[in-house]
């Protein structure tokens, strides 16, 4: 990786996660000399996956982080459930990076090269036509300036490169993509699928579409990637490159063009604005260790620092032309923050199937796509949710919690236990103006950048949705013949941020008075400034958003290059 002395680039990409990695790849492949700036440390593929392959006995405390260490350093990150002894080094220390919670919000962050692409859940769904129409139909949020047809070819583009394992299920509202063979359902899931699809026409239980290679393409092999080995320790990093991350995929692709320079340990303070040309002129950088500042200039800037990271930078990019943050002429920047909502679901016991087991630790699950407020269904709440879930045989932890000691206990744990199946809902959160982020007026971080202050909460639509998750879970689980069915509906709802699908605050829209970006993720007011990560979303659908970040990024990069070559930006 080069780290050149040049201060002039064609493009600067801020952030190296899911979106930033894609921007770097697309721009460099189009011939642009590109600087990729990452605030966190370098993480080198393979070498820096320091806990990869370590067996259970290599961890002193059964995978748990010591209590005081966890509370001191990951007091917020720990709420995500993802932080353990094997993964903690890929989660930002809250002790070192503060933000302000005007209302509770768990901002889960990964400040390192690759960002959260190292630790993400890999579920990869296209949005459907209904998702792009939702705001226009019910009036929440502003109308999307694009429709599914605009994104479809770009979903194909990113799926082919990233490698998505899934089935062509033929569901119009969860469109099929370019897939490698699905990882596969076990016998109990197949049974539950057949019952649900028969008893509830129009509902489906499908393989989760997942960014894992099952049949690597030549392009993926050439990048050094190989097929998933079912270890399910993805968040430690994968030397097989079997799941999509910046490290496994977009970074090597960008590096081999010879057009990429990567700068880690470098915080972006602000995007610079040239009032004469009415363009972004570059970025102000701060070395994370020396605190030295400098400016780097470029012809186009892509902001891909994660939803909240990007908006923090944009708000801090103040000038006399834009005292409220670059491009923020009408004050829309910071508003309409969303996460997803969860907290409703259920599980039950499945009798029989004792002759069946599975081999390997499947890094994916199954999914029931949205069936609420779709195809004539009408609920008391708007929009909808899907269920992720899986069937499994009871392992040693569950079996050991049962009564018994001695030889009998040991013997019962040695064999796989009974089957159970459960699923949990993830639902769409409505965009609301008052869910907002701003710069704290008083406090700054170690780099002199104002802390981000978050004011976001769920409301009645989300509460009703979660209650319905529990009801419909019960209905389906009982119909499938499960016993000891237990459902749950969080009340009060979990703290927003925990689903780690935060989106919005620099939204796309048709009207420059009520949106920050146009249909090409291009800032209405600053045509060489693009924001392509979750900050751009005007609504959030109910499916994991990362594939959509990838598609928007690739599409916007293509547009930016065209505009640049035509002398328009």
């Amino acid at each position: 990786m080069s780290s050149g002395d040049s201060t002039e680039f064609d493009a600067i990409v801020i952030g190296s996660g899911i979106s930033g990695g894609w921007a770097a790849k697309e721009l460099t492949e189009q011939g642009l000399k590109t600087l990729l700036v990452e605030r966190g440390r370098n993480v080198e593929h393979r070498r820096d996956y320091v806990t990869e392959s370590q067996p259970p006995w290599a961890f002193s405390h059964g995978m748990q982080v010591p209590k005081e260490e966890l509370q001191t350093h990951w007091s917020i990150q720990k709420n995500s459930g993802w932080v353990n002894e094997a993964t903690k080094h890929f989660f930002t220390k809250d002790s070192e990076h503060q933000y302000v919670q005007e209302k509770p919000f768990n901002w889960i962050r990964g400040f390192q090269l690759g960002g959260k692409s190292l630790t993400w859940g890999r579920a990869s769904w296209r949005w459907g036509p209904q998702d792009f129409e939702a705001n226009a139909k019910d009036g929440h949020g502003c109308d999307w300036p694009v429709r599914y047809a605009d994104l479809a070819p770009w979903y194909s583009h990113v799926e082919r490169f990233a490698g998505i394992a899934g089935d062509r299920d033929g569901i119009w509202h969860l469109p099929d993509g370019e897939f490698q063979p699905a990882i596969g359902m076990n016998v109990v899931e197949l049974h539950i699928k057949s019952v649900i699809e028969q008893r509830f026409p129009g509902r489906h239980l499908i393989n989760m579409r997942s960014a894992h290679l099952t049949q690597p393409t030549q392009e993926q092999i050439t990048l050094g990637r190989s097929a998933c080995q079912s270890r399910n320790e993805c968040a430690r990093g994968c030397s097989f490159g079997a799941y999509f991350s910046t490290q496994s995929a977009t970074l090597p692709a960008a590096l081999r063009t010879g057009n990429l320079t990567v700068l880690t340990d470098t915080v972006v303070h602000s995007v610079l604005y040239d009032p004469t040309r009415k363009r972004a002129s570059g970025v102000r950088l701060i070395d994370a260790h020396t605190r030295q500042g400098r400016e780097i200039h470029a012809r186009v800037v892509f902001v891909c620092a994660s939803t909240l990271g990007s908006t923090q930078i944009l708000l801090n990019s103040m000038s006399s032309s834009f005292p409220k943050g670059i491009g923020n002429r009408h004050g829309i920047l910071g508003h309409y923050l969303m996460d997803h909502v969860w907290g409703g679901g259920g599980r039950g016991v499945v009798r029989g199937f004792e002759e069946h087991f599975y081999r390997g630790r499947r890094p994916a699950s199954t999914y029931v796509p949205r069936f609420r407020n779709i195809e004539g269904d009408r609920q008391t709440f708007l929009r909808g949710y899907g269920f992720g879930g899986a069937a499994s045989r009871e392992g040693w932890e569950g079996l050991a919690a049962a009564a018994g000691i001695g030889k009998d206990l040991k013997a019962s744990i040695r064999k796989p236990g009974g089957w159970s199946f459960g699923f949990y809902g993830i639902g769409e959160m409505l965009p609301r103006y008052e869910n907002t982020v701003r710069l704290d007026p008083h406090r700054t971080d170690a780099y002199g950048i104002p802390l981000l202050s978050l004011n976001c909460q769920y409301s009645e639509n989300e509460r009703l949705m979660v209650q319905d998750m529990a009801r419909s879970a019960e209905e389906m689980l009982k119909a499938a013949g499960l016993e000891q069915v237990r459902t749950y509906a969080s009340n009060p709802l979990d703290t927003p941020g925990n689903v780690i699908h935060e989106a919005g605050t620099a939204r796309m829209g048709r009207d420059s008075k009520t949106s920050y970006l146009n249909g090409y993720n291009q800032c209405h007011e600053v045509p060489n400034l693009f924001v392509t990560d979750g900050a751009a979303l005007a609504s959030n659908a109910c499916v994991n958003p990362s594939l959509t970040f990838m598609a928007f990024t690739a599409r916007a990069a293509d547009y930016a290059v065209t505009q640049l070559k035509a002398g328009k930006i």
Binding site: R46, G62, K67, I221, G241, Y358, W396
Partner: protein
């Protein structure tokens, strides 16, 4: 395809490189500390407490055709949990609970739990286990049993001899036939 196999082997050897890494060697050094403390005091547990916990653990998970909790170093694991994982309140709670439990054990299996026959020791623990299951709320015994179980099944003995540990399972197989040999997975 040859090039895909070459890359797979490359990745496999990269995984091997990770295993030889200094960080990995340090992990292995920690592992060797987990062996039986053999009558010595631990970092938190006294010599008496070590002996008691070791005995109880070996009754909960005894030697069968595979080693039991004692040989798997479970008491060392629990001592390490107390020394490194627990915070001061958690440590205090456990130690107070342990002392209370030892007292009750010595009363139930008078004059001394540690000097009693295995059958009497086992009967006491079994009664504790039944009572805990009926009470349906946590007790010291439930906590101790949980730590013993985690210590055993995450140990090399438990994970590789008693259960099946597959470091690199390969492409996922969604349906395999259960035989008499089938074991639960360590992970």
């Amino acid at each position: 395809m040859l090039s895909s196999r070459r890359d797979f082997l490359g990745a496999l050897s990269a995984v091997g490189v990770v295993l030889a890494d200094p960080a990995w060697a340090a992990a292995q050094a920690r592992v060797s500390e987990k062996k039986i403390l053999q009558g010595r005091a631990g970092r938190v547990l006294s010599a008496d407490q070590v002996a008691f916990v070791d005995r109880v653990a070996d009754l909960i998970i005894p030697p069968t055709d595979t080693p039991g909790a004692s040989e798997a170093g479970v008491v060392g694991f629990i001592d390490r949990l107390l020394a490194e994982y627990e915070d001061p309140p958690g440590r205090t709670t456990f130690l107070e609970g342990l002392e209370d439990f030892r007292r009750r054990a010595d009363i139930a299996v008078a004059p001394s739990f540690m000097k009693a026959s295995e059958a009497r020791q086992f009967a006491f623990l079994q009664a504790e286990d039944v009572r805990a299951a009926e009470a349906q709320r946590s007790s010291f015994f439930v906590e101790l049993k949980r730590k013993v179980v985690i210590g055993y099944y995450t140990s090399e003995v438990g994970a590789t001899q008693e259960l099946l540990y597959l470091p690199v399972p390969g492409p996922f197989q969604p349906d395999v036939v259960v035989t008499g040999e089938t074991r639960n997975y360590a992970l």
